[in-house]
């Protein structure tokens, strides 16, 4: 019973049933710094993450 989130080379596993926003808070990722996609489609912070899903997080910060 897990949801997998991938951010660059990092992987996080959390329990399903939480919103994307709560999940990001749990894994200590700032919601402002990423976009979340499920099967290539962008999802919003109120989306409930379901068992077995893989969520790809796209980092949006660049610069130097």
């Amino acid at each position: 019973m897990t949801v997998k989130l991938i951010l660059r080379e990092k992987e996080f596993e959390v329990r399903p049933g939480m919103t994307l926003l709560s999940t990001l808070e749990k894994i200590n990722v700032m919601p402002e710094a990423v976009l979340a996609t499920r099967e290539g489609e962008m999802i919003l912070e109120d989306e409930i993450l379901r068992d077995g899903e893989v969520i790809k997080l796209v980092s949006v910060i660049s610069g130097g």
């Binding site: 919601p31 402002e32 976009l35 962008m42 949006v60």
Partner: protein
């Protein structure tokens, strides 16, 4: 969450605007807003030739895409910096810029720094000892010089860069921490042309970085996702993270910080003292304006590097 325009499932939520939009309406909204900013800040008008500085990243490629969608005459300029660091960073960003241009039938000018000036940026930084171990200062100096040269030499009316609001807010934050008055006075969505200097504009300056990433993803723009290897640990990224923490707690904080600054600047808060007005002279070598009577910073740097390289050989 539902799209405010059509009620279908939303793809993007912009908390600072209390606005959620579906893919279709988001991809309409971004160019509409860009057009609004172009007009509001009097950046350019139809009929003018625009040179878009492209890096292969999400912001600059999205900007080029938006300007072309809006019907502007926009060509691209890619500057090959010669950053490799084992991952072929510049090669990949060049490839993606070329791919973007060729798929859309757009014109891309390419300047290879090493071919034109003898050395790639990391070597220039190492030899010139500028930038405290990072090539970012040399990179910025070279890009500003080359962008201005190409815009002028090829007869473009305006040079457009893909700076987003997070870029602008991070610069503003850094300059405010240091009360860098002269930099604050110059930070603007538009820098008007002056003798030897092309007009510079930032049409994306009011979009959050997250919004530009969403635009690139939803438009299917293939951009370089990897960060410049020299950006790791950069102060500007640290400032962006700090501002994003603020934004998470106070939606709209970044936008207000930047917009209220523009208002304050417009009302004269950061006007330079009359005795501090800088007089510019043309560089005797390249003709670009400089505050010194001698060579400009870029030409001085190239001359120093060439002398050192000659001595070493």
């Amino acid at each position: 969450m539902k799209c405010k325009k059509c009620g279908t499932k939303a793809s993007v939520h912009m908390r600072q605007h209390k606005l959620a939009l579906c893919k279709e309406h988001y991809l309409e909204w971004i160019p509409e807003q860009t057009e609004r900013f172009i007009k509001k800040y009097e950046m350019f008008h139809r009929g003018e030739k625009i040179l878009v500085a492209v890096s292969g990243g999400k912001d600059s490629l999205s900007l080029w895409d938006i300007l072309v969608r809006l019907g502007y005459q926009a060509d691209g300029l890619y500057i090959g910096l010669g950053i490799d660091v084992g991952i072929g960073y510049s090669d990949e960003s060049h490839r993606l810029s070329e791919k973007f241009a060729s798929e859309r039938g757009l014109r891309l000018h390419v300047v290879d720094v090493a071919k034109e000036y003898g050395q790639p940026i990391p070597v220039m930084a190492e030899v010139s000892h500028r930038g405290q171990g990072r090539p970012c200062a040399v990179c910025g100096l070279a890009k500003r010089h080359i962008m201005n040269r190409i815009a002028r030499d090829l007869g473009y009316d305006v040079l457009a860069t893909g700076h987003n609001l997070d870029d602008e807010a991070a610069v503003l934050f850094g300059n405010t921490l240091q009360w860098a008055g002269s930099f604050l006075a110059r930070q603007s969505p538009v820098l008007r042309e002056s003798p030897g200097l092309a007009r510079k504009v930032k049409p994306l300056c009011r979009f959050y970085e997250r919004e530009m990433a969403a635009y690139a993803l939803l438009r299917g723009i293939e951009y370089i996702y990897e960060e410049c290897p020299f950006a790791d640990g950069a102060t500007s990224i640290y400032y962006k993270e700090l501002l994003n923490r603020l934004e998470t707690d106070k939606p709209g904080a970044k936008l207000i910080f930047y917009l209220r600054f523009l208002d304050a600047r417009e009302s004269g808060l950061f006007a330079p003292a009359p005795e501090k007005q800088i007089v510019l002279h043309p560089c005797p070598k390249c003709g670009q304006p400089t505050s010194t009577d001698d060579l400009c910073s870029f030409c001085r740097m190239i001359e120093t590097i060439n002398l050192k390289m000659e001595k070493e050989n």
